[in-house]
Amino acid sequence: MIFRIAYRNVKKNWRKSYAAILAIAVGFVAQSLFVGYLDNVEKLFEAMYANKQMYGDLIIEDARRMQSVGKYDPLKYAISADSASQISEWVNQRPDTVHSYVQFLQFSGMITDGKTQLVVVGSGNDHKYSQKMRQAFAWDAKYGTPLEAEPKPLTALLGVQLGSWMGCLPNPTVELNLELTGYPPVIRPFKCSNQLLQVTALTESGQINALNFSIKGLADGGIREIDSRLLLTDLKSIQTLLNTNKITYATLKWNSGVNQHESKKELNKLLKSIDENLHFVSWKEHEDGILFAQSMEILNVFRYFVVIIVLLIAGMSVFNTSIKSVIERVKEIGTLLSLGFKQIHVLQIFLAESLITCLIGNVFGCLIATSITTLLNSLNIGYRAGIYTEATLIQINFIPLAFFNAAIVTFVVSGLTTYFAVKYFINKRIIQNLNG
């Protein structure tokens, strides 16, 4: 009966509390949109680091590589061929736990098209799992074709800017945005004025070596300074160029559902048995991934600040509405009390009422949130976040959990505010209620 009274009351004077409903809806929308946006940014970063740049879950490297000594002489603190093969063997024995494992050899040298000679910085990676680890970014060639499409040694992708300096120009240029779905796997044409570009580098022991690479495509380097120097090729080619069989680092991704804690302990034991300098670290803690932590930090500060403000305001208007509806129905409260209803019953009625209002508010919120989300996602508003070469799209992910949390929070807020509003009136003696 209590619910029936509450339901009928809301139905009767919904017009009066539509603003409260809208306030709740706005509170709901604010939360879910922001959480959806944050989730997208986080997923975008993860996709860019874990998939596109193939950092996977863990980076396996010599701990000294990122220290100043390592930066000065990278090859000296690379992983030896023997250690690398032991790790690869360990990986091959665990097809069910390891999703993908890619080895990298970084290098820097000079590249020339016969006329211009420029610094080139890049890496060769083994192609066995690389496309699998890249997942949505398997097709990493913004123009031309990915290397894995037709694995041949001495084929390479150049950064778009470096490509243009080396006479490899897209025709026509295409504007692609940073998206979770990666590039559409279609060949966007490009043309190099000369088929082979010579890359010169010092071998591990300091000898000059040079290889001619045929350019299969252009890839996006992410930030400007990298894109104007980037060359990606297969591991063997770079090992030949540097006349070494070392690798700079390797990355590993666990299969989903794997007990990562257990596998990590096992891997750690393996690494320490091979060489106590070897360690693994997630890209989020790695110097390369520092940008991610910084961005998420500032985004979360924004998020909590806004959500608190919006909920305070929504709480205010719910409070106002419930006070008003209580004032309006003081006589009714008096009657109920006079009929022997206890205070708790009256409170329940109003709480039920605020519950219903909140429910409607949340439903409204859902509708508004999903419509804004689809609208925003379809508008493809792009903005250049920080120093990235490609614009990122404003995308909001649909997160049921966020909707659920938002609903819970609005229920709590409106429940509390109604409680306080009604409490004030119930304590008044019945007679005051009756006379209104």
């Binding site: 009966m1 029936r4 009274i5 009928r8 009351n9 139905k11 009767k12 006589k331 009714e332 008096g334 009657t335 109920l336 009390l337 006079s338 009929l339 022997g340 209803f341 206890k342 205070q343 019953h345 003696r429 019945i430 007679i431 009756l434």
Partner: protein, 228 residues
């Protein structure tokens, strides 16, 4: 206290604070009401009629004195005890009916029964039917209050007051909002109920027609009883 005394007021006093001014609404009221009596309190407005009614109905608490109902002092009960007293012992009929607009007639009458835990839906249904029969509105049970006339609404209020077999029905100006013909019918209904079920009625009014047909009249003026 005589066996059949239902209600006894001893030296009951009540003063109100209007701004800074203390207004004595009731002073030294002594009164006995026996079961089955049909009594009216009359007096000019501001004579304390409504205050007295409220005190008896424990809607308000007296400043001094005792109010004994069936020997039990009800002047300041705890919330829960008071709800029980209201629910089981007292039935109210208000001047402005005070029906729940969003509930149907049936549901309004059923309201007081809902507080009683051990009453099954079927028992409630029979009880409400019985009440509505008594006020002759059974056919209107699914109507909403705002679809009824003033008289009919007051009958529903009376039916509601009957529904929990109260010992005493308090009615505050029950006929004030009604035209004379309907008022007359309501008074007949009250008298019938009083005779049929020996229900004790106590109401205040300044409706001459009602006063003429009542056996016991209590005159109130300026907070004290003139004659009884």
């Amino acid at each position: 206290m005589a066996a059949s005394t239902l209600l006894e007021l001893n030296d009951v006093e009540k003063t109100y604070l209007l701004g800074e001014v203390k207004v004595p609404a009731l002073s030294k009221i002594n009164l006995k009401i026996n079961t089955g009596e049909f009594t009216t309190i009359i007096g000019p407005s501001g004579s304390g009629k409504t205050t007295l009614m409220n005190l008896i109905g424990s809607l308000d608490t007296p400043d001094a004195g005792q109010i004994l109902f069936e020997g039990l002092d009800i002047s300041n009960l705890t919330n829960n005890r008071r709800s029980e007293y209201l629910n089981k012992k007292i039935g109210f009929v208000f001047q402005s009916f005070n029906l729940i607009p969003v509930l149907s007639v049936f549901e309004n009458v059923e309201l007081p029964l809902l507080v009683i835990e051990k009453m099954s839906a079927q028992e409630r249904h029979d009880r409400v039917a019985w009440c509505l029969d008594n006020v002759g509105l059974f056919d209107f049970k699914n109507y909403r209050p705002d679809q009824l006339s003033g008289g009919q609404r007051q009958r529903v209020a009376i039916a509601r007051a009957l529904s929990n077999h109260p010992k005493l029905i308090l009615a505050d100006e029950p006929t004030a909002n009604l035209d004379s013909k309907t008022a007359h019918q309501i008074i007949n209904l009250l008298l019938d109920l009083n005779e049929k079920y020996n229900l004790t009625f106590l109401f205040c009014s300044h409706d001459e027609k009602l006063i003429k047909r009542v056996r016991r009249v209590i005159h109130l003026s300026d907070g004290s009883i003139l004659n009884d």
